[in-house]
Amino acid sequence: MALLIAAALACALIALPSSAQALEVTATTARSNSDNDNSIYGGMETRVTWEAQTASDESLSTLTLDYPDGSTIPANQVKVTGLSGLNRITLDYTVASVDADTVAISFNTPTQAGLLIRVEASKAVLPAEGGSLSVSGSATLANGAQVDIPNGPAMNVVGVSVAQQLSNKLSEQGWVQAWNQNRLLHMFFDPTIIVISIPAVFHGWLLALLMVVCSFPIAIVIGLLLCFLRISHVGILRFLGSLYVNIVRGTPLFLQIYIAFFGLPLLGINIDNYLLSVIVMSLNSGAYLCEIFRAGIESISKGQFEAARSLGMNAVQTMFFVIIPQAFRRVIPTMTSEFILLYKDTSLFAAVGVMEMVMFARSITATTGNMTPYIVAALFYLLVTLPLTKFINIFEKRLADPSHGHKRGGSTPSPARLTDEETTLLESAPKVDSEHVTATSSLPGTQA
C-alpha cells in the first residue's frame, strides 16, 4: 500500500503542472525468470505486467507504452485486460509495434471510464545489462486529449546469468530445435533446460548432502543408544527401546515429517526448517540403525563374549572393545545402504517446503511444464548413490572372501583375525549357530 501511495503521490506531483489528467500507474512488475530466487534477469524471456488506474472520467482510445531501451516486446504477445473492481472486462483492441521496445494499443471502442487497465507483455526480453527499469508511455483519451503517463514504480532487473546465456544460445542451434521437435526428447532431455537446471539442482544437491551428512552421525549415536536399550537386561528399557523402534519403523517417514513440520509449531515449538529436517532424519534413521546394530551385535558368536569375560573384562569392556568393533565392521555395508536410503529420503522434505534437490527441480518443472529438471536431479542422486553402492559391493566381497581378509588380517593381531574366522564360520556352517546366521543374513532386509 505504501508503494501505491508513493506512486499516487508521484503521479499527482507530476500531473499537477500539466493540465491534462493522467492515468495512475499502480504497478510495473515482471515475472521472475530465475530458478533460484525471485529475481528478474535481463536478456531472457519474461512477462512484464503494467497496470494503471483510469480516473472515473477517463476513457482511453489509444495507449502507447515505451518499455526500457533495449527491450524486445513482441506485439502479438501483448494482452490487455480491463478490471472493474474484481470483475474482468473484455476489451476490444489491436496491438502494433512502433519499434522493438514500444507498442501502440488502440481500443476499437474506447474503454469504459474508471477501469484498471492491465497490459501483460509475454515473451518480453528486458535489456541484458539490467538495472532499475520502468515503463513510460502516453495515451489518447476518448475526448481527443493527449496525456503523458508518468513512470510507474521501477523493476529491479539483474544482468543475465551465464547458464541462461548458454541456454539462450543453445535454443538458437539447429540441432537443439530438431531434438526438441521430438516430444519425448523435449519432455525429458531438453538441452536448454538441462543447462539452466544444473546450477539450481546442484545447489539443492549440496543442501541435501549437507542435511544427510549432518544427520547421519547423530543417527548413529541414537541408533547405538536404542540398540543398548533393546539388548538391555532391564525389561522396561527393552520395552521402551522396542516401542520407539517399532513406532518409527512402522509409520511412513512422510507422516513423521508432516507431524514435525505442522504439529510442533502448533505446540509453540519453532525450529528452523533445515535444523528440523536434520532432527527428523536423525530420529527416523536412528530406529533403522538400531536394528542394524542389534543384528550386527547378535551375529557375533557367544564364544566372543565368553572369551572376553574369561580374560577378566566386564560387560561394558566386552561390548566396547570386543563386540562392537567386530559388529561394526560387519554392518558397514548395511549402514551404507541406510545412508543411501536416508539420502534419497531428503526428497520427501520437498512436501513441506524445505528447499532441497527435488524442490529446486520441481520449481523449474512447475514453470516450464517440462520434466527435464527431474532427470537432472536423478543424475545428481546417482552421483552419490552409485559410488556408494560400488563401495558396498567391494566391502561385501572382502567380508565374504576369507583369503583376502587373511592377507590384511595377518599382520594385525587378534580382533581382525577373529572376525575373519567368524566370517568363515558364518559362510560355511549355517547349522553351527543358525539364529545368529539368520540375524546376519537378514541384515540387508532390516531397512526394507
Binding site: K123, R183, P265, L266, L386, P387
Partner: protein
C-alpha cells in the same frame, strides 16, 4: 565410477533415441504427428474413431484440493468444475472418469498425453502453458488474494515484504507472490490444503492463492484466517487438452457453449457461487 556413470547416461540417451526413432517412423506413416507419445495416442484415437483414449469415457485429471472448484468429499470429487465437466460429459454423451493428481503435474501429464484426455483443475490460461497444451474457451474468471491469520497485523502485500508466503506449486498465486511482494520468500507446497496448514502452524506468514478458494476455505475450515488483499487479475481457467487433440477442444467448446445457452452453466454456477 565415473566411467560407469557416463555409461549409464549414454545408455539412457541411446534408449530414448531408439524410442524416438520408432516414434518418428510410425508418425510419418500416419502423417499425423512428430513425436513418439503423441504418435501412439493419435493413432489410437483415430483407430477407434473417438475423441477420447477410451471409447465413451472422458478421462479427466484434477488436483482435488481446491474447493469450491474441485475437492474430495467422502471419496467423491465435488466442486464447480467437477459439476461442469460432468455436465459437459453428459452433453457430449461421455462418461466422465475423474482422477486425482498433484497440480504441478497436470499440465506436463496432458502435454505428454496417454494418461488422460483433459484436465480441469483451476488451471489459469497462460501463454507459458499454452506452449505445452491446448486450452478450451475460459470456463470461469478468477482473481488472486492474500490470506493471513486473523490475529496478525499484516494489512497488504507491501506489509509482507521479506516474509514467508505459502503458495501451491506451479500456480498463478505462487507467481503473483514472487512478482509482487518485495523480497518474499515464497514456499511452494504441493497441495492447496498444505498452504493453509503451514499458515495455521506459523510456518508461513501468508498464503497467496486464488480468491474463490481463499474465501471458501476460510468459510468452511479456517475461520481464524482473513483475506487482507483481493487482487484483481482477471485470470481465466480453461480445460487443458493435448496438442494433438484439437477435435476434443472444439467438442468441449461446443458443449460449453450449449450448456451456457441452456442454463445448465448458470445453474451450476449459482449452486457454488450464489451471492447471498
Amino acid at each position: 565410477m565415473k566411467k560407469k556413470f557416463a555409461l549409464v547416461a549414454v545408455l539412457g540417451l541411446v534408449a530414448a533415441l531408439a524410442l524416438a526413432m520408432v516414434g518418428c517412423g510410425s508418425s510419418s506413416s500416419t502423417k499425423k504427428a512428430t513425436s513418439a507419445t503423441s504418435a501412439t495416442s493419435a493413432a489410437a484415437a483415430s483407430a477407434s474413431g473417438s475423441l477420447t483414449m477410451q471409447d465413451g469415457t472422458l478421462t479427466v485429471i484434477s488436483s482435488l484440493d481446491f474447493p469450491p472448484f474441485e475437492n474430495l468429499e467422502n471419496g467423491e470429487a465435488v466442486g464447480f468444475e467437477m459439476d461442469l465437466i460432468r455436465a459437459l460429459g453428459d452433453q457430449m454423451g461421455l462418461t466422465v472418469n475423474i482422477q486425482n493428481q498433484a497440480f504441478d503435474s497436470l499440465v506436463p501429464a496432458i502435454a505428454a498425453g496417454s494418461t488422460a484426455d483433459c484436465s480441469i483443475s483451476g488451471i489459469t490460461i497462460t501463454p507459458e502453458r499454452e506452449e505445452e497444451v491446448l486450452f478450451t474457451d475460459p470456463v470461469i474468471d478468477s482473481n488472486q488474494s492474500l490470506v493471513v491469520l486473523s490475529s496478525s497485523s499484516y494489512t497488504d502485500a507491501a506489509s509482507l515484504q521479506g516474509k514467508t508466503i505459502a503458495a501451491q506449486s506451479g500456480t498463478t498465486g505462487s507467481d503473483w507472490a514472487k512478482e509482487n511482494i518485495p523480497n518474499a520468500n515464497v514456499v511452494d507446497y504441493q497441495e492447496a490444503t498444505a498452504c493453509f496448514s503451514a499458515l495455521a502452524a506459523g510456518q508461513a506468514d501468508a498464503v497467496s492463492i486464488d480468491l474463490p478458494v481463499a474465501s471458501y476455505t476460510i468459510r468452511t475450515a479456517y475461520s481464524d484466517c482473513k483475506i487482507i488483499q483481493e487482487t484483481p487479475t482477471g485470470e481465466q481457467y480453461g480445460i487443458a487438452v493435448n496438442k494433438n487433440n484439437p477435435e476434443l477442444v472444439s467438442a468441449l467448446n461446443d458443449a460449453l457453449a450449449e450448456i451456457k445457452a441452456n442454463g445448465t452453466y448458470d445453474q451450476i454456477y449459482n449452486s457454488w457461487f450464489a451471492t447471498n
